[in-house]
C-alpha cells in the first residue's frame, strides 16, 4: 500500500479517526471510499457514532466515492454465499459486497474481528489494513488509537484466522 491508494473504510474507522483527530490527515493522504450505510452509521449509529458536530455534506466531501449498494447487489452476494453470509451489520456487509465486485487495486480498513475473518475467508487477507498502518504511512502519530485499530491486532487476527485457530 502507498499514499493515494484506495482504502475502503467502515463506520468504525471513520468514527475512530474523528475521535483521535487523524481524520483530516487520513482522507488527504488516501483516496478514501465507503458505502452509504457506513456514512449513515458513522453519523447516527446506535452502537456508536462520530462524537462531534459534522455536516453530512462535509463528511461526504472527504471521500473519493460513496457507493449506494443496491438490493440486487446484496442479493447476488447472498445467493453466492447461500446460508453462510457473515453476521456483520448493514454497513460492514455493504462494504464487503461492494469490495468483492471491484477488480481494481483497493484496501479495506476495519477493526472488527468478524469482518476481518470474512476477508480472510474470501481470499482478501492481503488487502486488509489497519488504521495504524495507514496513519504511519502518513507519518501521523497513532499513540491514542484503540487496540482493534492497531497493526498488531490485525496481524494477530490474520494469523489466527489463516491458521484456523478461530
Amino acid at each position: 500500500m502507498k499514499r493515494g491508494d484506495v482504502i475502503l473504510v467502515d463506520a468504525c474507522v471513520i468514527i475512530e479517526a474523528h475521535r483521535t483527530g487523524t481524520w483530516a490527515a487520513l482522507h488527504k493522504g488516501f483516496a478514501l471510499e465507503t458505502v452509504e450505510t457506513c456514512i449513515v452509521e458513522a453519523q447516527t449509529g446506535k452502537a456508536n457514532r462520530i462524537n462531534q458536530q459534522i455536516l453530512d455534506a462535509d463528511l461526504r466531501k472527504c471521500f473519493q466515492s460513496v457507493y449506494a449498494v443496491t438490493d440486487l447487489e446484496r442479493a447476488v452476494q447472498a445467493a453466492n454465499f447461500e446460508g453462510d453470509m457473515p453476521a456483520l451489520d448493514a454497513g460492514e456487509l455493504d462494504l464487503w459486497i461492494h469490495a468483492l465486485q471491484r477488480d481494481d487495486v483497493w484496501f479495506l480498513c476495519g477493526p472488527d474481528r468478524a469482518s476481518m475473518k470474512f476477508g480472510c475467508q474470501v481470499g482478501q487477507k492481503e488487502k486488509l489494513v489497519s488504521l495504524e498502518q495507514a496513519l504511519s504511512m502518513l507519518n501521523v502519530g497513532t499513540s491514542n488509537i484503540k487496540g482493534h485499530y492497531q497493526e498488531r491486532w490485525l496481524s494477530d487476527v490474520k494469523v489466527k484466522f489463516t491458521l484456523g485457530l478461530h
Binding site: N48, D71, E73, A79, A87, L88, D89, P111
Partner: protein, 363 residues
C-alpha cells in the same frame, strides 16, 4: 436456508407452487419445488423478485437469525395490541435465533434428551402440584426455589431465560424450537410475578408435546384447563411441601401477626403473598373462603410493602457468555451484536458488567 424461507412464506400467504412459478416466470412449478427442497439454488435476481412478490425485505431471506415459522410461541399477556405483540415477537425471535445459530457454530451441542413431565389434560390439579414439587426436588432448587429457578432452567432444562423490556401487559413467553427452549420474562414486573411467570412457562416447556399451549395466554379471565394446570404446577414448584414445612409454624392462621408473617415468608420465598395463601389452602391450612376474603383486602399488596423494586439486568448470563465466545471467534461483528440487542457499545459493556462478566467488546 432460502428454500425453507420461501416455502414458509409461500404457504403463509396461501400461494401454490404453480402460482409462484408463474409469477417468477419459471417454466414449471417443479423449479419452485426444487428451490424449496434445496435441490436448486436461487439467483440474486430471483431473491429480489421474491421480495417484491411477497412484499418483504431482503433480510427475510438473508438474516440467518430469523426463526421464520420455526418457533412456536405462547405469550402471557393482557390487553396487548396484536401488532405490538408481533413486533416484540419479531425482536425476541431474533435473539433466540441468534443464540441457536451461534451455539451450533460454536459446536455447543444441545442436549439429546429433552425433559418432559408426565402430565396430560386429564391430570388433576393435585397431580400438577405434586409434579411441580417433584420437579423442584429433581432440579435441587433448595430452600428458596424461585431464587434457583433461572439457573436450573438454563443448566438442567437446556433453555435460555431472557429478561426483556416488552410493552406493558406482556408478562413473558415460552418458545419451543426443535433444538431448544426459550423463556422470555418481562424484567419490569415485580419479583414475585417474575417468579410465577417463569414457573408457569417452565410448565409449558415441560408439557409442550402433550399440552401445546395457546398462542395467547391471558386473553380471557376464564383460564383454560392447561393454564390452570400450569398455575398449580407453578405453585408446587415455587412452594413445595419440603419448603413449606419449614415455615408452617410461623403461619398460624389464628395468630395475631398472621398477615405480617405471610408477607414476610412470601417475600423470603420470592413469591406473592396471595400465592402463599392459596398454597396454604392446598395444604389444608387455610379455609378457601377465608383465603378469598383475605386476598381481596389490600393487606398483601406488594407483600405488604416488603417486596423491593428490583430489576434484573437484560438478557441472561448464559446468552451473553455465548455471544462473547461468538465475538471472539469472529462469528458475529460487534456492531451486529449491538444492533441485535438495540444497545450502544457503552450499554453493552455495562450489561456485561451487570452480569459480573468481562466485556468482550474491543471497539
Amino acid at each position: 436456508m432460502y428454500g425453507d424461507r420461501l416455502k414458509h412464506l409461500r404457504e403463509q400467504r396461501g400461494m401454490s407452487q404453480a402460482d409462484l412459478a408463474e409469477l417468477l416466470k419459471f417454466e414449471s412449478r417443479q423449479i419452485v419445488s426444487n428451490i424449496e427442497n434445496g435441490v436448486r439454488r436461487m439467483t440474486g435476481e430471483e431473491l429480489v423478485a421474491c421480495t417484491e412478490i411477497f412484499d418483504v425485505k431482503l433480510d427475510y431471506f438473508t438474516n440467518p437469525y430469523l426463526l421464520a415459522g420455526q418457533g412456536a410461541f405462547s405469550w402471557r399477556q393482557s390487553g396487548v395490541d396484536t401488532q405490538d405483540l408481533y413486533a416484540f415477537e419479531t425482536t425476541a425471535s431474533e435473539w433466540i435465533g441468534a443464540y441457536r445459530v451461534l451455539r451450533d457454530k460454536l459446536n455447543q451441542k444441545p442436549r439429546a434428551l429433552l425433559a418432559e413431565v408426565r402430565l396430560t389434560k386429564q391430570s388433576s390439579y393435585e397431580d400438577a402440584v405434586a409434579t411441580g414439587e417433584a420437579v423442584a426436588a429433581e432440579l435441587e432448587l433448595g430452600d428458596v426455589p424461585a431464587a434457583a429457578l433461572v439457573g436450573a432452567a438454563e443448566k438442567k432444562l437446556d433453555a435460555i431465560v431472557l429478561m426483556a423490556d416488552p410493552k406493558k401487559g406482556i408478562s413473558g413467553a415460552a418458545c419451543r424450537l426443535p433444538e431448544m427452549n426459550a423463556i422470555i420474562i418481562n424484567r419490569q414486573e415485580p419479583l414475585s410475578r417474575r417468579s410465577f411467570d417463569l414457573a408457569h412457562e417452565i410448565f409449558h416447556i415441560l408439557t409442550w408435546e402433550a399440552m401445546p399451549p395457546d398462542y395467547l395466554d391471558g386473553v380471557n379471565k376464564a383460564k383454560t384447563r392447561v393454564e390452570q394446570l400450569a398455575d398449580k404446577f407453578a405453585s408446587g414448584l415455587l412452594l413445595p411441601s419440603f419448603v413449606m414445612e419449614k415455615h408452617l409454624d410461623q403461619l398460624d392462621v389464628q395468630g395475631e401477626d398472621f398477615v405480617q408473617r405471610v408477607n414476610e415468608v412470601a417475600t423470603e420465598l420470592m413469591v406473592s403473598s396471595q400465592a402463599l395463601l392459596w398454597r396454604l389452602v392446598d395444604l389444608g391450612r387455610l379455609n378457601r373462603g377465608t383465603c378469598k376474603d383475605l386476598t381481596e383486602t389490600d393487606w398483601f399488596s406488594y407483600n405488604g410493602g416488603l417486596l423491593q423494586k428490583e430489576t434484573p439486568p437484560l438478557m441472561s448470563k448464559k446468552f451473553l457468555e455465548l455471544l462473547a465466545c461468538a465475538l471472539q471467534e469472529g462469528l458475529i461483528s460487534e456492531r451486529r451484536f449491538a444492533s441485535l440487542l438495540d444497545l450502544s457499545f457503552e450499554e453493552l459493556i455495562d450489561l456485561y458488567s451487570q452480569h459480573g462478566l468481562e466485556s468482550p467488546l474491543g471497539l
